[in-house]
Each structure stands twice: as C-alpha cells, then as structure tokens.
Amino acid sequence: MTTTVERPEPLTPEPAGRPDAHGPGAHGPGDAAPEHVHHEGPSGIVNWLTSTDHKVIGKSYMITSLVLFFLAGVMALVIRAQLMEPNSSVVSYQTYNELFTMHGSLMLYLFAGPFAFGGLANYIVPLQIGAPDMAFPRLNALSYWLYLGGSITMLSGFLVAGGAASFGWVAYAPLSNATNSPGAGADLWLMALALTGFSAIFTGVNLVATIFYLRAPGMTMFRMPIFTWNMLVTAILILIAFPVLFAAVVMLFCDRHFGTHIFSVQGGGSPILWQQLFWFFGHPEVYILALPYFGMVTEVFPVFSRKPLFGYRGMVFATMSIAALSTGVWAHHMFTTGVVLLPFFSLLSYLIAVPTGIKFFNWIGTMWRGQIAFAVPMLFSIGFLFAFLMGGVTGVLLASPPIDFMTHDTYFVVAHFHQVLVGTAVFAAFAGFYYWYPKMFGRMLRESWGKLHFWSLFVGFWVCYTPQYLLGLHGMPRRIATYAPDTGWTTLNVVSTIGAFIMGASFLFFFVNLVVSWARPVPAGSNPWDGHTLEWFTSSPPPHHNYTHLPPIRSERPTWDYNHPEHRTVITHRAPAVPPDQPKELTGAPS
C-alpha cells in the first residue's frame, strides 16, 4: 500500500486576526488545523512492527537507545562501586572487564550515535526541511530493525558461556584474537557491530538523500536549520567511517575463525593495522557522536535567547571543517605506538580547536544581550558548554605528543573523553530531548523536575570526573579492576564514585518527570517555545506526512517570521537576490 503525497497548502504571510501570534508562546496554524489528518493504518504493536513513518521509527530509536543508555549507566555504577575501595571485590576481574567493555560499547555504538542520527534526526530533520517523510522510508525501517537486532546480539553476549566481550570497546589486536579472547561473546560483539554499522550507513544514505531532495520550496541549503546542516555533515562522516569499521570487523572475524593472519605477527600480519583501521573509523565516530549534539544546542540557544543565531554561515563552515579535519587525525590515539607520524597528527588535531572555538564564540554571541529564558533545554545547553569546554581543552592537551606520552592509558584520558561525551551525548542530548519532547508527544515535561534533573546531573558530573584527571596525573591506569591501598588513590576514587552515584540518581528525577507528565498531561500546542524553525509550525505531534500547510520560507527561521512579521526584516540578514516584486525570471536561471 502506498500513498501519494501532495504538497502542503500555502499560507498567507500575514497571520491577520490572530492576536496570540505575536507574544511568547505564539502558536502556529497547526493549532487551528484538525487534530490529525487521519492516517489509515494499523495501530499498536502492529504499527510499531510495520510502520515506515519516520516519526514512529524515530521514537522507536529513541526509546531503544535510552533503555540501552540506562543499562550502560548501571554498568558504570557497578564499575565505580568496584573502584571505590582498594582491593575491592564487588565483581570478579573477568566480570569487570566485561562490564567496562559493554559499558563503552553500549554507550558509543548503541546509544550516543543512534539516539542522535536514528532518533532525534530521524524525527526532526524531515520536519525541519518541510518534507513528508525520509527519502527511503522502508530502508529507514530496516535501519531500525538492524539496530535492534545488533543491540540484542551485543547484549546476548552476557548469556553465552565465557561471558560478553571483554577486550575494551576498541578491541585491540592481539587481545581480541581467538587465543586471547575465546568464546562466543567476542563474536557476538563483532557481529553486533556489523549489524549496527549497516544500520548507521543506511541512515546516513537516507539523511543525505532526504536533505538533498525533499526540501520544501524556498528552503535553500543556506536556509536549513543548523541541526539539519549538522546531520548532513554527520551523515557524510558516517559514510566515510562505518564502512572501514565493517571491513575491520570482517578481517578480525576471519583472523579469529578462518585462519587468516591479518592482525597477527606470527602470520606476517600487523596488530597496528587494526589500530589504523579502527581509529580511522573511531575518530570520525567521535564527531559523529558530537556534531548532532552541537546541532541540538545550536537550535536551543537562539530560541531561549530570543535572538537569531549569531554567525549562521560561520557555524556551517565550522561544522564542515571539524568533520573534514576529524578524518585526518585518527592516529593521535596511537602516539605511543611509535609508528605514526607525530607532527602530522598533532598539527591536524590542534587545528580542530579552531572551528570548535568558532562554534563556542557563536554560541556565546547568540546569548550575548539576548533575553535569556533559563528553561530546562537552555540549562542543559549551558551545562553542555561548560562540560564540553573542559573536555575539549584537555583534548588539546592530549593532542600534544609529550603530554600524551605521560597520560596515555591513564584516568586522565578517561576523564577527558567522559567529559567530552557526557557533555555532548548526555547534556546536549537531554537539551534536545526536553526541547523537542513537546513536539514529539504533544505534552510538556515539567520544568521543576527538569531543573532538579539538570542540577543534580551537573553537580554529579564535576564531582565524578574532576578527581579522575588528578588520578590520571597520579598515574592510575585505566581499565584496572582494583588497586593497592598504598597507591594513595583511595580518596579521589571515593569522591569520583560519589559523583557517579549523584549522576545516576539525577535520572530518577527524569523518570519522575516522564511519569508525571504522562499521567497528568499539559498540552503543548504546536509551538510552546516560540520556536524559529519549521517543525514548530505543524501540530504536536505532527500528522501523518507532517504538514497540511507551510508558511513562506524566506529565512532560516520561517516559523518566527510568520509569527512575528514585525521583526521579519531584522532577521533576514541577507538581502534576497531580487526584490520580491520583480519578475522571477531574473533569478538563477540556467545559462
């Protein structure tokens, strides 16, 4: 069964006779539109299994990845409980190795990426560009099922003899070969990566095709919201990085079972080759995890500062340069192997600080002299700025080979990448989640519980990770299951564990918030934040195929222009190519 989708109806630019359209909390015409353009189709679990609607798939992605996030978070708490005291025996060494491997794998492969490009991007990107769905809806559904299959495959490692994979999320050769890591758990881990890798590649293809081909009339590339821009760049990065991971995984599997010697010295192979392949995927992966979240906070800052985004084009070019540079820096994870070109990778790594700095400048410039509303999405975005700044600055330190030689494989590195990733994939992710939740579910989350969630997470975050920098400088290696009492690491570890449990507890507030807002719904309306971008124009949740009407798209914030016609000239910072009253033949015709 297929549906032929007509273009949404146009709207007059003046929202005449709509007194509520000028103040904060202005509503789009979605409110006046019928509740749902009813979609003939199955409901309930059959709908979940068969839907090709990007909104259903996006929500499935988000729910699945949040469940995996909480599982991985529980693993982190067990790890911190084990490290709280010297000579601790909360779990066995083998279990500890499995836990930190699966914690990292779940967080990086199954939560942070899929939540962004499978969940929020899937839901929001077609809305932001005025598209009725993703370009390939059935491929989109297949992506989700591959992702779910891969997630279950990876978790099922805990059920097989020998336990789950226990070689760290990077699976370095030769630790990951059949001799050192026997058992089905490691194979399941590899196969899970193959499945989720393809899921990511399909989503990447889908996002690029959607953004290139399904934009609404007038939505030129340089009018797309920054979140959509960042998802385009992320999707291209996925297409660069994930095929390499898949190839590496296949090679490692052949080494384990089919007698090849690609990564083993005995057979003439090279263990370092695994690191080259893995990090050629792994470093772009870091930005695949970061760029979508940069995009989310870039949507939040202007709306809650009640200003247009400062430096729109600068943001776009900064995103592209971060992505381009990120593919040339993979071996800065391999400085201590002694076989990589230190100046090349060090220099390119330093260069990434420049576009990232531009982004920080623009975020602060957006808030500068704005009327800042400290709603929960804004708080999480500001929390992201602090967290990511600390993670980023220590990243610049680690890009210096002499410092990296000192701190490599210590808790300094652990603290660095946790601050980067919690900054992006937790703080910015929840900024995006709180921001778009009203759009997705048509109801508001409670501000008070959200603020409790934010502040407890923020405090826990610093208490947890700051001591880990010091532990690293005191020489505590990462991935050790226990340590001796005379090392002097106990106090800092206790502080860090307390911080971890505060972070864990903060999510109780999040659960309460979800339950309360579900049990006693506060209707959101189509545009509760007085948002700028197109998704706030349609009803919450949007109807099947998203739009019954579209406003004229004349800038990068069409919904704002429609709701605030008196401010429209202020925000169109580029003059149109021709004044609107002149004939159209003068513009952009092919020669």
Partner: protein, 130 residues
C-alpha cells in the same frame, strides 16, 4: 543543486590533498588508502551532482524566491506500512548469528531474507513504487 555538488567536491578535494600530504610525509599505506577512499566518496557523487546541476532547471528548493504555491502538486509516492523491513532485519540478524552459532541457523536466516526480498519486491510492484 549547486551547493550540494560543491560540498561533495570540496570534501573530495580536501581529502585528496590530505592523502597526498600524508603519503609523502609518512609513506604509510593503510591510512593513505583510506584517505583515497574518502576522496572518491566525495568526488564520485560530487561529479555526478555537478554534472546534473549544470543540466537541470534549478529546483524550487534551490530558489530563494520560490513560493509554496509554485510547488503545489505531487511530492512523490511514499510506501505505507510494510512488514518486510522487519523480516529483513530479523533475517540479517539470523544471518550474522549463523557465523557465531553454526550453520543450523542458515536455513532460518535464508528463509527470512528470501521472503523479505520477494515480499518487498512484490509489494513495490503492486504499489508501483520503489
């Protein structure tokens, strides 16, 4: 279409330069080959888009003065609900599990994948879309 083409071409050119710099400073073949792969990833679709952007009328989404009215009509045909992506996903999962747990899973995996391929094709023909 011009902006899209330029993005991809610039990606290709950037990685081409980086690949050459990397090769002549390190002579390391794995990284060089992967960078060349990234160059191709930018240049091949980039060249395709560039060719099209010179041979097609500008689309409404590339025209800053286009109005919603001009775009009235059909956007396209979109598939409705379909069970085959789910069957295909489970088939793919069973296929990779065959490598872990043994060949006894292969008939199940094969049946799922085959039925999904046939089912999706038949569904597309009936609906007249891909």
């Amino acid at each position: 279409m011009k902006v899209e083409a330029r993005i991809l071409v610039v990606i290709g050119i950037f990685f081409g330069i980086i690949a050459l710099v990397y090769w002549f400073t390190s002579y390391e073949d794995a990284g060089f080959l992967m960078l060349i792969g990234a160059t191709g990833l930018g240049l091949f679709p980039g060249a395709y888009y560039l060719w099209w952007s010179h041979h097609m009328k500008p689309r409404l989404e590339d025209d800053p003065t286009a109005t919603i009215e001009e775009g009235s009509g059909q956007i396209g045909t979109f598939p409705g609900s379909s069970i085959w992506p789910f069957i295909m996903g489970m088939g793919a999962t069973a296929t990779v599990l065959t490598f872990v747990f043994g060949l006894w899973l292969a008939p199940i995996a094969g049946a799922l994948v085959l039925s999904a391929l046939i089912g999706a094709t038949v569904e597309s023909r009936r609906g007249g879309t891909i």
